[in-house]
Symmetry: C2
Subunit: 66 residues, 2 copies
Amino acid sequence: MKNNIKVQRAIHDLTQADLAKKIGVSRQTINAMEKNKYVPSTVLSLKIAKLFKKPVEDIFFLEDND
Amino acid sequence: MKNNIKVQRAIHDLTQADLAKKIGVSRQTINAMEKNKYVPSTVLSLKIAKLFKKPVEDIFFLEDND
DNA sequence: TCTATATGTAAAGTTTGTTTTACTTTTGAT
DNA sequence: ATCAAAAGTAAAACAAACTTTACATATAGA
């Protein structure tokens, strides 16, 4: 799975730390998500999508190996 | 977080085992999700949404305590 | 009622998400 | 060139997702 959180952050002018605070996770969690180190929970993706006012599918993308 | 997987299954006439097989998890995982035993990964919610041809937000819902 | 299929549940174990702390590297402004 | 803020990274520890096995309960049809 991939995501475009970094782009959404840029659009909304948020640092990783800002975003982390807003959705209630650590900054490292945001960083790891952006670097595709792991797959976040559905609660996290829903929160991020809500914050950025986009559907989950516009931010997180399935890949062939998923 | 809540979800309406059971309803979607009914609409598509799928058993828990059917759905489990289609998205590549165990039947108990589907059962536990329906009973809100845990929060699935974003890969799972994307796959389920894709299968049911609905946005993730139409199947999974944030609650106040999330 | 008998039987098959679907669903619920539980425990143990493995894998993976997430936090915390801490340090390094990059970037941008002065 | 310097400095501060932002981003990258890593290891240890903990929490949660997910699997496997196994059994119990429900439901519907013959």
